[in-house]
Amino acid sequence: MSEVASPPKSKKSIVKYDKTTYLTWFETMYRVRRFEEKTLFAYSQQKIRGFCHVYIGQEAIAGALATGIRPEDKVVTAYRQHGVALARGMDSNSCMAELYGKSTGCVKGKGGSMHFFSAAHNYFGGNGIVGAQIPIGTGIGFAEKYKGTDNFCVTMFGDGAARQGALHEAFNMAMTWKLPVLYICENNKYAMGTAVTRTSNVVDMVKLGLSYDMPSEQVDGMSVEAVHEAFLRAAKHIRAGHGPYYLEIQTYRYRGHSVSDPAKYRSKEELEEYKEQDPVFVTQNKIISENIASQEEIDAIIARIDAEVDEAMDFAEQSPYPLGSELYDDNYVQQDYPYITD
């Protein structure tokens, strides 16, 4: 039988993990925060174009991704994906260069903000079609089971994608075939400008797993510790061969859906309420107040990340655009594919 857990109560005063873990969380989350702030700045300068969706507010999930799964596990997500890619260990330079559309970008300027990929980091990409990555992640997990590994595929999607039919088709097959997939609904309360309450009769996205008897939990997505612990529980279940696991992670994005969205559909008070639980600052404060690390160590991380992101912007700025003729690269594996050019 499946279970639905309530969000765990705050245990901020308890130090459960070692120093390295807390500092990894802080560094990962701060990198994402800083990277995204600079992304917005570069976008305002028109260095970055196209659709652009930043991760600010949702960093706790990135932090937990850095500690809760193995490098051999696979990850696929939607288009709000810079933070997920960074959490997988992709470097700031190749990510920022991709946003700038440069040839040094992680996909050589082919993808932009919505489509980072890295085979070396088992990062199967940012997908631009809402919900399409849910069956894809299921198939990635299918291949792991077929090959006989105990790896799984973290398949991430938003509350909007949770209303796509693809989710139900994938959930059903994943449970029927006991596929190693960790489904994560990042419920940030708004599908673009539409509140979950306006488009869904069932507001608790966690319940979507229940009609498939999938083990399902609701998680406090503003707490990196809570998300990390949920990942560990899910990983144990999946690696034991029991099939998929589903987490509804309740989070919040501080910015609009994309850079062009002023987010007038929600109140200032609601935003402020979440900012008080900010995962980056909560973790930073805990590290200091619980003497996990010194202020100097935190300051050093901040200085290093700030420099790293500044350097990434310089790197992106100075890198060349791809040649127009590279458009014909990588449409087919077949090297002599006869493109129609007249």
Partner: protein, 355 residues
């Protein structure tokens, strides 16, 4: 599948060994149906490559809605021959993910009409995985099933999808009913590192033909001249080949020598074979079950005026399915479908003869 692994992969084919001499092999051949030939293609590839598997509705315990996968569950077991729920979008997407992660899925659609539900995964993902990922992830997947009308099945079960799929860069499209060639093409498709859409035919699964023994593949992207002629070139594919052949036989009785070309592959289109034939006959009729607008026949007509304009003694004329949905009544089927009489009329038109 990660592209960087390709070099060392046993399934990598830098070249596809072309069947140089089909005739030579035919000394050791059998007469089997298209259905059996396609089944053999899948089984042979599954024997030689552990990463190949088949999934779709009714493919396993039912032995295939059209019995193409007959016996495969018994030989390969449920790990590799997988019955899916009726969820085309879902299992096509699972196929795409599996292909990105090192496997070679064959995804069967009961018919391509139902594959419409999966177009997001075929068009937005399979076709774009390689380019989106800057060449890091391949998607070596085969989507296959019957395409085209199959009698009085009315609007939703009678469509062709060659034109739709061939419009999409990143995909390859095969459409062939000749048992020997269909087998060799399907084997090539399974070994291909790019996504391939394979269009079959419900009413041609029983078509018999001589199929060579042994392992062979037919290269994707090459048309075949089925009948040599001098007065007019008739181009067709899939079951329209039967219409074209019948028309050619009748035309011969009337003193008109028709060359008949089977496209076999729709994308990439082998326009060189077509141009060479047109330079010989100076006239062309395209028999194409897809709808006329922006279809395969339109593309061929463009290619001919672009590359053989000076050789054309008449405009290219096409015989398509009607520019309507197909109705149920037999009179509608007759009106809708290309048939030999329509082809003969078109040939007479390009030869400036009275019908």
């Amino acid at each position: 599948m990660r592209r960087e692994n390709v070099k060392n992969s046993p399934t990598n084919y830098g070249f596809i060994p072309y069947l140089c001499s089909l005739k030579k092999l035919q000394s050791m051949s059998r007469v089997i149906t298209l259905r059996e030939a396609l089944g053999e293609a899948m089984s042979e590839e599954m024997r030689r490559d552990e990463t190949v598997f088949l999934m779709g509705e009714e493919v396993a315990e039912y032995n295939g809605a059209y019995k193409v996968s007959k016996g495969m569950l018994d030989e390969f077991g449920p790990k590799r021959v997988i019955d899916t729920p009726i969820a085309e979008l879902g299992f096509a997407g699972i196929g795409v993910g599996a292909a990105m992660n090192g496997l070679r899925p064959i995804v069967e659609f009961m018919t391509w009409n139902f594959a419409v539900l999966a177009f997001d995964q075929i068009v937005n993902n399979a076709a774009k995985t390689l380019t989106q990922s800057g060449g890091q992830f391949m998607c070596p997947i085969v989507f296959r099933g019957p395409s085209g009308a199959a009698g009085q099945l009315a609007q939703q079960h009678s469509q062709t999808f060659e034109s739709w799929m061939a419009n999409v860069p990143g995909l390859k499209v095969i459409s062939c009913i000749d048992p020997a060639d269909a087998k060799g093409l399907l084997k090539a498709a399974i070994r291909d590192n790019d996504p391939v859409c394979v269009m079959e035919s419900e009413i041609m699964y029983g078509l018999k033909g001589e199929v060579p023994d042994g392992d062979y593949v037919v290269p994707i992207g090459k048309a075949a001249i089925r009948r040599e002629g001098t007065d007019v070139t008739i181009v067709a594919y899939n079951k329209m080949m039967e219409v074209a052949k019948e028309a050619a036989i009748e035309l011969e009785k009337q003193g008109i020598s028709a060359e008949v070309i089977d496209l076999r592959t729709i994308r990439p289109l082998d326009h060189k074979t077509l141009v060479a034939s047109l330079k010989k006959t100076n006239r062309m009729v395209v028999v194409d079950e897809s709808w006329p607008f922006a279809g395969v026949s339109a593309e061929i007509a463009y290619e001919m005026q672009r590359y053989a304009f000076d050789y054309l003694d008449a405009p290219v004329v096409r015989v398509n399915a009607a520019d309507t949905s197909l109705g149920y009544a037999p009179t509608f089927v007759e009106e809708y479908m290309p048939n030999p009489a329509k082809v003969i009329r078109a040939v007479k038109e390009v030869m400036y003869q009275k019908a």
